[in-house]
Symmetry: C2
Subunit: 334 residues, 2 copies
Amino acid sequence: MRIAVDGMGGDNSPHAVVEGCVEALKEFDDIELYITGKEEDLQKEFDKYDYDKSRIKLINSTEVISPNEHPAMALRKKKDSTIVKALRLVKNEECHGVISAGSTGAFLAGCTLIVGRIKGIERPALAPVMPGKNGPFMVIDAGANVDCKAPYLLQFAKMGEIYFKTVMEINNPKVGLINIGEEEEKGNELTKEAYKLLKEENNINFIGNVEPREVSSGDVEVLVCDGFVGNAVLKMYEGVASTITSLIEQEIKNSPISMIGVPFLIPAYKKLKKKMDYKEYGGAPFLGVNGICVKAHGSSDAKAFKNAIRQTRIFYNNNLIEKIKLEIEKNHKI
Amino acid sequence: MRIAVDGMGGDNSPHAVVEGCVEALKEFDDIELYITGKEEDLQKEFDKYDYDKSRIKLINSTEVISPNEHPAMALRKKKDSTIVKALRLVKNEECHGVISAGSTGAFLAGCTLIVGRIKGIERPALAPVMPGKNGPFMVIDAGANVDCKAPYLLQFAKMGEIYFKTVMEINNPKVGLINIGEEEEKGNELTKEAYKLLKEENNINFIGNVEPREVSSGDVEVLVCDGFVGNAVLKMYEGVASTITSLIEQEIKNSPISMIGVPFLIPAYKKLKKKMDYKEYGGAPFLGVNGICVKAHGSSDAKAFKNAIRQTRIFYNNNLIEKIKLEIEKNHKI
C-alpha cells in the first residue's frame, strides 16, 4: 500500500512526522510512504535514521497552509502546498490513502474538493475514535458540518457503523444519537427528526438517544450528531479532563499529607494516562470521501503518526471505501 | 421575604426539602416559607424538628407532576399540583420567589405560563452557576430553549451579566459565546450571527468566543449559548468528571502499590469535592420571567435546598427582577 503523508502538517513537523514514518516502515513491511514538503528539509530529518530508502519517496512542495488561513482560499492559492500535493497523490491514484496533521479546515475542504465525495454521500464527516471508560467510542460528525439536516445524520450513522465493524472489528456496534434527554421526544428540531430516521433504519443497531454525560462511558460505539455539537462535546472532554487533573494536582500540592501519597499513585496514573491517550488511536478518519483520508491531531508526536499510518493501513486492507460505497448504493436502489 | 417551595419536587422530597427549609429558617431570620404538598406528609416531616412555626405555612396540594409527564399537558391537567400551586403564590404576589426541584420541563413551562415573562424578553433562560477551576461560571441557556435565534442569545448575555453583578457581586463580568473556535468567523449560522450582535453591544464586556474546553476554567463568568449546546456542555461536565474519577479509582484498585498512597490523599480529595460541589451554589435561576424562579437540582439534598433559599433571598434583596426590567426597557427605548 502507498500512503501520502503531509510532511509539514502539525506543531511537531517535520521531525515527528519523519520519526513516525521511520517507525511505521519498521513495523509494517507492506507500506510505501510518499511524503510532501521541502525535499532538503525532509531529507535532513530522514538522515538521522536508518530506514529502507526504497520505500520512501519525497515529493517536493514549497508551500505550507497554516491553520489561520481561510481553508478554501488557501487551497486555491497554494497549489504547491504540502496538503494539496498529498491530496493530489490520492486523487491521481498514486497513493491509496493520505494523512495530515495540518490545518483541519484546509485538509477537510481539500479532501472534498480534490479527492471528491463518494457518490450518494451528502456530507463527508470527521469521525475520531476516542478512549472511553469501557471501550473506544466514535463521535461523527466532529466538526466538518456545523449546520446539518437530519438525513446527513443518518448517513453519518451508517458510515460510523461500517467503520466500527471494519476497522475496530466490533460486530453489530451500537449507534446512538447525542441528545439532551433519553426520551424520543427530547431535543431540538434536528435531533427529533434524526431520531425518526434512525429508528426507521433496519440495518443499524440504533439504541436511541445518548446524553452527553454518557458519551465518555464508551458503552455506545457510534455517537451521531451535527459537527457543532460533536466538536463541542470532544473539546469539552479534553477540557474537563485537564481541569480535573489540574485541580487534583493543586489540592495535593496544598496538602503536605497528600504529598506523601503521591509516589505510590504513579503506577496507577501512568496506566490511566495510557488508557486515555488519544494518540493510541491514530487520527480521525474523514468518512464519505472517495479515498482514505485521515486527519491526525495537530499536536501529534511520532507515536501518533505511526498509529495514524497503522490505522490507514487497516482501512485499506479492509476495503473501507468499497464497503461504504456498497452501503450507499444499496440505499439508492431501494 | 416570602418564598414558595415545591415541597414534593426532587428525588429526596419531602424530607430533604423540609430539612433544608428548617436549616434556612435558622440561618436567615427575614424569611417566611410557603411549602406546597400534602399537608399531613409535610407536617410529619416538620414534626421531626424544632422550628419557628409562625414562619412556615403549609399549602395543601394533592397532586405531583412527575418528570416523565408532558410539561404543558401536566400543568393543564394537574391544577392542584405542588408546582402549579407554588407558582400561583408568586403570580398572586403572596410570595416573592419560588423554588422547585421537581420536573424541569413543567417548572420552566409553568414559570412562563403562570408567572409570565418580563415585557420585552423574548425567551426566559435557565442559568445555573457552576464551580470552575478559577471561579464560578454561568451557562445561559442551559436547556430551556433548544432552538434559538441570535437576538435571544444577546438577551441571555444581558441577563447573565446583571445576575453576576447583582447576585455574585462581580463587577464587569466577562461574557463569552460558547463556540467551536476562537475566531469570529468560526461556528454555525447561529453563533456567527450572535457574535455580531454581542460585539455591537457596548454595555457588556464581551470577550469573544469561548471553546468548550475553556468553559470549566471559570475565567469567563457568563457563557452564552443555545439551550441544546448549554445542556450538552453541562451534562458532559458532570459525565467526564465522574468518568475520570472512576477511572482513577479503578486504576488505583488494580495497583496494590497505589493503594498505599490512598489514605494520604483523602484530605486533598475532600477539599476538591467541596470546591466542585454544585450544591454550594444552590439552584439555577430561570431568568427573564416576572418573578424570582429557582430550579433546584433533582437530586438536591437538604444543603442544596438551603442554598437555593439563600440564593433566592439574595435575588430579592438585590432587586434582580427590577434590574433586568430596567435593562430591557432601556433597550426598547433606543
